[in-house]
């Protein structure tokens, strides 16, 4: 999906660059006679209308796919509690005591079944980004002190997933990670 977004961006960036180059060249070639653009007001109207409609369609398609609505009506097969701290993740099938955070040594999750992560922080803001075995983000949420963010996801591919902290949290932010297995 990320590469599709990169491709979309590159195509749009190339079109914009091309338009600016064509407009610049049309000016550089222009003689003293001022020709300009015919019916600029009409073209501006259509330009803005097309932009507005495109963004409207984009919003209409994407908003229902927001993570808040994913699997909202289903019951999770597994619940995992996550407490993030400088610079570790504690993960447990049971609720975690913030004064004595203890988690499981290994976490195993079922493939193609709904998993619910209940994510909080014991100190500062952290990120909870789940990377697939091929090192692409598949899902993420934030870990915020005083709040529990609920993330629901179905893992389609078995293997070892890595969690990285994606909110800058201090000196060892770059090494804050953990793993779990999907079978």
């Amino acid at each position: 999906m990320q590469y599709a977004l990169l491709l979309l961006f590159l195509v749009l960036a190339a079109v914009i660059a091309l338009v600016f180059i064509i407009v610049y060249l049309s000016s550089a070639k222009s003689d003293d006679e001022l020709k300009g653009m015919a019916n600029p007001l009409q073209k501006r109207f259509w330009f803005l209308l097309i932009l507005f409609v495109c963004l409207g369609i984009f919003a209409f398609i994407t908003i229902p796919r927001s993570p808040y609505y994913l699997f909202a009506k289903e019951q999770p097969a597994k619940v995992v509690h996550v407490a993030a701290g400088q610079f570790f993740f504690t993960m447990s099938y049971k609720a975690i005591n913030p004064d004595k955070p203890e988690g499981e040594m290994t976490i195993e999750l079922p493939v193609n079944q709904l998993v619910e992560f209940r994510v909080t922080s014991l100190d500062v803001n952290h990120g909870f980004a789940i990377y697939s075995p091929s090192k692409q983000i598949v899902a993420q949420t934030q870990a915020m002190p005083g709040y529990v963010n609920v993330l629901r996801w179905k893992f389609k591919e078995p293997g070892t997933y890595t969690v990285h902290c994606l909110e800058y949290c201090g000196m060892a932010h770059q090494v804050m990670q953990t793993t779990f297995t999907v079978k």
């Binding site: 990320q2 003689d31 932009l51 993570p67 949420t141």
Partner: protein, 480 residues
């Protein structure tokens, strides 16, 4: 005396911005080299470097926009030399405090100083209050400056005139609001709003700091306030640059002055409103934020960019297409800058879509898009102004040399540097990592490539720097 004073102050602002810009680019290159493994910094040093790079870049391009707007505003209304000077003094004091707190005190909570990280002290204990007081000093200086410019406009224009509301219905109103005045006022009001949010934010942070934990803040509220301030000021500084373009692009190009029409007036009034709601996109991954605000964030992010970008891009295209233009370095910089701004805007709109942000949030896609509309957009707007100002008002006119070389280096360096960020974002490589875990196989190579291209960009900036710097320094040193 005051008009001359503003001119001299503008030259000082330009000198200060250029020096700090070069230093901050060097800090940025060092960060990319460290991520690439070519140099080795301790993580704390890297993050202090990252903090000072971010806050300095935001600060200098904000004041560059303000200085340019203040200088051009003198064409329409009388502005306050003293407010301008006060802001200059406070900015110098604030920047020195920021650099001392980060580079000596080792404060490294990031330029967004996201609560409660500044209070988890892993640096000199004095550095946290010094960083926060530095922001207060900057805030006071900028607040006074913004209020004085708004007051200057409101002395001449009524509220409805300054926002061009008379243009909504009447094609030829008695009082015409110049686009420069409209966009300046829209931007200044936005800046005022986010500075007020910064005051509330700082008061809350100081309350917790000085109560020694008796008073504890709410992390979600503080995050909302932080991004309301941080996102909005980063957006408004772009609009300050656009105000200058609306005034100078036609003038430098030898074309008739642009006029405010009903659609320009509506577009900028809509922008004023929607830009204040766009910051919610920074909290998409905080699922506890009310869902209605998340949707507002996505729609406002679209609607804030659509009218202003649509109208501005079209105005520039109409002004240039098949029209003989007096091209110079300044209007070329404006023209390329508009393209860079729009391309960065596309990257931003992709990221401001919640379902995409789920995959891109806090990856290198984020610095990719904001560096696009800053390094290849806003910086070019201001460089165009700096160049125009230094040539127009300097006694050392001379012929502009190496224009093609400067622009070629700027484009090559800028595009290469940004491409490394975008590809890394698509590869899910995290932002704000001092070094990368080995499993991110392409991260080091991309960081090194980014550093190489950023160095090419730096060479272009140094070429600009030398000519603009000499002329502005001459202006500052000459007796009035």
């Amino acid at each position: 005396m005051e008009a001359k004073g503003i001119k001299k102050n503008t030259a000082i602002w330009i000198l200060a911005v250029l020096v700090l810009f070069v230093l901050s680019i060097i800090l940025g290159i060092i960060m990319r080299l460290n991520q690439g493994g070519a140099v080795h910094l301790e993580p704390g040093t890297f993050y202090a470097d990252m903090t000072v790079h971010g806050i300095t870049m935001i600060g200098i391009w904000f004041v560059a926009g303000m200085a340019g707007v203040n200088f051009i505003m003198e064409r329409y209304v009388k502005t306050s030399y003293w407010a301008n000077t006060f802001a200059l003094v406070m900015t110098v004091i604030g920047v020195v405090m920021l650099w001392v707190s980060t580079l000596i005190g080792d404060f490294h909570a990031g330029w967004t100083f996201l609560y409660p990280l500044p209070f988890k002290i892993a640096w000199s204990a004095w550095a946290t209050p010094m960083f926060l007081w530095a922001l207060a000093v900057l805030g006071v200086g900028w607040l006074v400056w913004v209020l004085s410019l708004m007051a200057a406009l409101l002395k001449k224009y009524s509220i409805s005139q300054v926002f061009a509301w008379q243009h909504f219905r009447n094609k030829n109103p008695e009082v015409e609001t110049p686009p420069f005045v409209l966009i300046s006022m829209v931007s200044l009001l936005g800046v005022l709003t986010c500075l007020i949010a910064a005051v509330v934010l700082l008061v809350l942070l100081f309350a917790e700091y000085y109560s020694h934990g008796t008073f504890v803040n709410d992390a979600l509220l503080i995050k909302n306030l932080t991004y309301f301030f941080g996102h909005t000021i980063a957006n408004e500084m772009l609009y300050l640059g656009l105000a200058i373009i609306y005034e100078l692009f036609p003038e430098i190009s030898g074309r008739p002055k642009w006029k405010t029409t009903w659609y320009v007036a509506i577009a900028w009034n809509l922008t004023l409103f929607f830009v204040l709601l766009a910051f919610f996109h920074h909290l998409y991954m905080d699922f506890v934020q009310p869902q209605g605000l998340q949707i507002v964030g996505q729609l406002a992010s679209y609607l804030a960019s659509l009218p202003s970008a649509g109208v501005t891009v079209f105005s520039v295209i109409v002004a240039v297409y098949r029209t003989k233009i007096k091209w110079s370095l300044s209007n070329l910089l404006f023209f390329i800058g508009i393209a860079g701004w729009v391309i960065g805007g596309v990257g931003a709109v992709i990221d401001a879509t919640i379902s995409n942000n789920f995959l891109l949030h806090n990856t290198l896609w984020v610095p990719a898009h904001f560096h696009s509309y800053n390094a290849m957009g806003n910086v070019l707007f201001s460089l165009g102004f700096f160049h125009w100002f230094s040539v127009e008002y300097s006694k050392r006119k001379g012929q502009e040399r190496l224009s093609s070389l400067k622009l070629s280096f700027l484009l090559l360096g800028g595009i290469g540097f940004l491409a490394a960020f975008y590809v890394a974002g698509a590869e899910s490589i995290p932002r704000r990592y001092s070094s990368y875990p080995v499993e991110f196989t392409s991260a080091k190579l991309l960081a090194t490539l980014g550093a190489v291209f950023a160095t090419v960009y730096l060479i272009a900036i140094l070429l600009f720097f030398s000519s603009i710097f000499k002329r502005c320094l001459n202006m500052v040193l000459q007796r009035s």
